[in-house]
Symmetry: C2
Subunit: 433 residues, 2 copies
């Protein structure tokens, strides 16, 4: 008799009907209408919808502790008046650890098993991820101005290199280089980051063309729009993940396609910070590799990839007056497979040989019945609270809504304590102001 | 000692802090930091956020049974090829009853206590609402073409009149006249509906300017854009609720403002059916009365007003490149107070003297901590599954997520049975096609 590490019984796999899934060594090993086998762990799911888990391709997870501060402000005002002063006051290894725990708890509960993070003290983020059993591509934000992490671009790059070397051989987490953006990094810093990424064979993760203001600023400073500027200094390649990419010229789209650059679309952050609406249907038509991200919780204000998927699917139909602009299957693919594959992970499909990064959706709810088209139902009707079980690399991280690797009560307790400290600071500022 | 029907203890009221609320005869009678009183029913809520419940100002609730069919189609194709044939086959009093029960269960669970419905067999909708304890403004869709309900406009109007007279004196439900749209009703039908509304002192509820195609069609047929056409035939007044209103000229906006017409904005339906994005920030600037609706579950695909509120708040910022286009407090007001007041109900504010239509949000979740700004947190972070308690006119309809007036299991059972019948029909059609 066959032996599996994990056996999922009676899942509803869209397009295939009710199936059993045998998982071995972190991979989907067998899918069949009925599998009789031995397994270390068996979960009976009685017709819940089975689908790939989400890949959140752009976020700043520790910022979960700043959730909802400065709502209804545009990007630069929000960054300069609210976020950067708060970060100056509070960011520390302890802040990063507590914020990451909170964010990872939220992500697992909403079905994410991979996230691409850019922040400070990413060693702490890594520790949390290893304990939680979630995948992550992690990088220190590299900037031209000093923060608590480093004073000069050289020092940032040195830290980033040390961090990358320390993460070698990890199973779930991998280092990434994160020069923050063309408007916060000089061409020299960007070039050095690029060189380091080649030396260590790492992905680069950067913010690009997020706002019209950024495009104007880069044009003024370098005589070129952001993507052209990056192309001119030799920064772009298939190992570059560009977040946002709201404002691109036709010529820039051609370059992105030719260089096989990966685009992390963040529709809710771009809406909320009034950055704009990225022309994603056009990117897809051109064959550009688009994946999806939530951005940090302070600008979205959540890490909910199912909500982000629904927003993407609806937004572009209305914005383009085209009901087929992004259909439900395409939206799910962008939010899952296209994310994993952007960083070379074979996951995001429920097929034999793929990594077992999966989730199950409980449809026994008034807003999910009747159920005609499981894919459309997930995209247009389901909420992340309908996600019942989450599996990362064959390991169950949540079952029946209960986190298996994180003490949720403890996480909430810590988050509230940080909330009190930060609220007291905000109150003091207001009194002074 | 004071006596209340319902006493809510220790709720977090945004702007006021922790308060107790005493409710008597369906109204908010007293709000104070601490109320010592006798009450028939007391609920202890330990710091949950208290806010007004939602008013869903445009929907077709029985369509919940058609949820998710024909996803990713534009409005006219979706109506003509998918929805109308299905309705021709299935719509009956039994269908309407089962669909309404399903939709009302979903609405109560997601915090709605008033909805404006337009469909067939609305007597059945009314019966369900009375039993469930939810408010509703109900009307038969009036059309120029025959359906199971009537053959001619005269017959529709006769049925609508009978229905209205039968509902006289009801506490929670009230009749409304619903000529479907300027493109499905002749000027004569619209005028007769208007006359009947004056005779019986009823609100009119109609679809207007939903798509560019509709505007073109009305222009061709009547030489005017839809709102001007309605103005020309004397249809508009402060007792007219126009759903959608996506495509209005400046002149039409002036008319809407002058006539005090109510606009039911349906952002998610307009996005999903690729109808467009209504210029709602401009309406608000002009002082037009805007409220919010989900449209039917077959076009959204849910009845979730909290999601709709979040979508509205984010969408218009991004679409207008203005982070203050609709801020969180405005979004909540549009989704609550502006809905109730559009049909003359004094609810949607947590203030003494207002109707006790309320909900409570449980913030003890990773995606809702830390909590700095309760209003922003509700709009940008909360999901309808965080709604713990829902009260309509002082009566608790849901407590700790459990429906008090509806048997949820029975509703799901019925919905699944209908789903099987409809699926079998769709399969047959496909085989034939």
């Amino acid at each position: 008799m066959e032996r599996f590490d994990l056996l999922i019984k009676e899942a509803l796999l869209p397009g295939r009907g009710i199936v059993d899934i045998g998982i071995k060594e972190g991979k989907i090993h067998k899918i069949a209408p009925k599998i009789e086998a031995q397994a270390k762990e068996t979960v009976f799911v009685k017709g819940k919808i089975l689908m790939p888990s989400f890949a959140n391709m752009h976020t700043h997870v520790p910022m979960s502790l700043l959730r909802g501060i400065g709502a209804d402000l545009p990007l630069m005002e929000w960054l300069q008046k609210v976020i950067w002063p708060l970060e100056g006051e509070f960011v520390s290894p302890e802040f990063v650890r507590a914020g990451t725990l909170l964010g990872v708890a939220e992500m697992i509960k909403s079905g994410t098993t991979l996230f691409m993070d850019m922040y400070f003290f990413e060693e702490e983020v890594g520790e949390v991820c290893k304990n939680a059993g979630i995948r992550a591509g992690l990088g220190f934000g590299i900037l031209d101005f000093p923060t608590k992490v480093a004073k000069t671009p050289e020092e940032y790059l040195k830290r980033a290199k040390e961090f990358a070397l320390n993460l070698k051989g990890e199973e779930l987490i991998f280092p990434v280089l994160c020069p923050h953006a063309p408007y916060t990094c000089s061409p020299d810093t960007l070039k050095k980051a690029k060189e380091l990424s080649e030396e260590l064979d790492l992905f680069l993760h950067i913010h690009v063309a997020e706002t019209k203001g950024e495009v104007e600023k880069i044009k003024e400073e370098y005589g070129q729009t952001p993507v052209l500027h990056l192309e001119n200094i030799g920064f772009l390649s298939e190992k570059v993940l560009c977040a946002h990419m709201v404002w691109l010229s036709e010529e820039e789209m051609d370059i992105v396609k030719d260089r096989k650059v990966k685009v992390a679309h963040c529709p809710e952050s771009n809406l909320k910070l009034a950055s704009g609406i990225a022309p994603v249907p056009e990117y897809l038509r051109r064959g550009i590799h688009v994946c999806l991200g939530t951005d940090g919780s302070a600008s979205n204000d959540n890490l909910d990839m199912l909500e982000e998927t629904a927003t993407m699917a609806k937004l572009h139909k209305g914005n383009n007056l085209d009901a087929k602009a992004i259909d439900a299957p395409t939206a799910l693919k962008v939010a899952t497979e296209k994310g994993f594959s952007a960083v070379g992970i074979k996951a995001g499909k429920v097929e034999e040989g793929y990594e077992a990064d999966l989730l199950l959706i409980d449809t026994d709810k008034p807003h999910l019945q009747p159920l005609y088209d499981p894919v459309a139902q997930v995209v247009y009707c389901a909420k992340s609270s309908d996600i019942d079980t989450v599996i990362c690399r064959g390991k169950v991280l949540m079952e029946k809504g209960e986190l298996k690797t994180i003490d949720e009560e403890e996480v909430l307790h810590e988050a509230k304590k940080w909330g009190e400290k930060i609220r007291a600071f905000l109150d003091r500022q207001q009194t002074l102001g």
